[in-house]
Amino acid sequence: MYLDKNQAKILNGSEGETMAKIMKTLVMYGETFDADKLIPITSEEGHLVTSFGINVMDPYYEMFESLLDAGIVSKQNFTVDPSPVDMGNVPASPIQKLVFKILYKNQKRYDDQLKRMGLKGEDMYTCTCYMDEVGNIPDYGDILSWAESSAVVYANSVLGARCNRNSAIIEMFGSIIGYVPNFGLTTNDGRKATWVIEVKTNKLPEAQVLGSAIGLKVMESVPYVKGLDKFLGNELTQEVKDYLKDMGAATASNGAVGLYHVEGITPEAKKLKEDLIKEEAKEYVIDDSELLRVQNSYPCIWKNPNSKPKLAFIGCPHLSLLQLKDWAKKIDDKLRSNDKKKVSVPTVLTSSVPVINEFKKTEEYQILISTGVKLSYICPLMYLSNPLCSKMPIITNSNKLRTYTTAKYYKDDEILNILGKELG
């Protein structure tokens, strides 16, 4: 891999031993993927995936400390994934709260490290940093050093930015050096599709199941999705962006998709059309029966699969303002139609602090609160890392949460029916 004079000097220790190790890591990482050179990061801000001060990751915090001790900080400000704990808004028993304190004993230390490293602000903990209210929105063609699989796939696909599926630490090293290795999704060829997905369903598929089906099939390849524009139209409205956000998160967690193109909708597909498809691309047809097959394949690992749910999480990835308003209306409508005042299952909608603050100014906020639903900035995945919480029968509409935890997946309508019914 070509290094310019300054990069080669850093590798040889001109800026100290720690910077040399950071450069060596990026070089070895790039060479593994036949990167030709390091290219400059052009986005204004970075995004880190690791937000949690969990007690089993001491080596990570020690590394962070050693960087800061050496005077090494990020060259760009960054946002970071959601906070792991929200004692005020998410139900937890005293013993569960105690376990949270033990589990996340490094949280204060790590929050402080993030601040010193270059965190954009105290409210900048979210996996949907690209929402208008949060403001970390790369331009088309920007080169990023981000991690968080759902944010990377969104930035690549919906915004047309360029970022590989970086691991934690690698993304920070990129932001420290100011460069990333040029390979894969930062190159024109790496952004071409090797799968064509034909959506032949009778109605708009559930985003989370469609994304799951695609991810499970194509793994880390780039898919070109046909047939969605007849349901979604050709404009990237907020509603469409939210659909793609949820679909993308499922492709990235059930598989390893870092970029997808949607015919007639996403920016590169609009610009380059079928020139984005490689000649040898394979085909996968998704119809209603295939979606049903995929959903039926999800295992339920609750001790008693017929348990009554004790908690519902909606919002992994974090909800947009429009989604919060929409859920408020849908839950309220469901309760009214069933002549009920409060949801049957304790329910938490999750979103970023800036989005929640905007939502609180709307009439839908009062409607939502009257149904008994709570709002939180938490990462539900981190909540379920508490072994006492993971034993609870928790339901979710997130395929990502289902993949990494014991939570049981239901489609949006199924969740609504559960929240609106009388539990015997």
């Binding site: 991690a147 699989s149 990377v152 598989g255």
Partner: protein
């Protein structure tokens, strides 16, 4: 015994018992419980992986097509290495993905734990290797399976 030739991602030698995931290996889902409960034998906690669910992964020759899932994958492997719960080596039938590569490289440069990593061993490698077989990795990317 059969011999396969792959590409060296992280150099080193190892002899270990094979543990085989024929599907994409979800690093976070697989190591989550081991890290949380500090289980040094690292039983796989990915309920979606029928091949290796609940089987110990530490000190094994972990054979797979590639890894999938969250971008915390690399740091999970790095922390598993520091904790002493990492596989003896990582063997990929396909080209390594960015998250597994990050984990293997971070372990190599930032820890004292050796986790040799070889990719591009080909689909026939994954067809041939079975759980419990002995795997020997040599410096030049040669992998012997017995």
């Amino acid at each position: 015994m059969r011999e396969f030739k792959g590409r060296v991602v992280v150099p080193g030698t190892a002899t270990a018992t094979a543990l085989v995931s024929t599907q994409g290996f979800n690093t976070l889902a697989s190591f989550k419980k081991a890290l949380l409960a500090k289980k040094l034998d690292a039983p796989c906690s990915d309920q979606d992986n029928k091949d290796i669910y609940e089987k110990p992964m530490a000190k094994k020759a972990l054979c797979m097509p590639q890894t999938i899932g969250s971008t915390t994958g690399g740091i999970v492997l790095y922390c598993a290495s520091e904790m002493g719960a990492s596989p003896a080596c990582l063997l990929f039938s396909e080209s390594i993905d960015s998250l597994a590569a990050a984990g293997a490289i971070l372990s190599d440069i930032w820890t004292d734990v050796a986790m040799p990593t070889v990719d591009r061993l080909g689909p026939e490698f994954l067809d041939y290797v079975k759980e419990g077989m002995t795997v020997i990795i040599k410096e030049d990317g040669i992998v012997q399976v017995d």
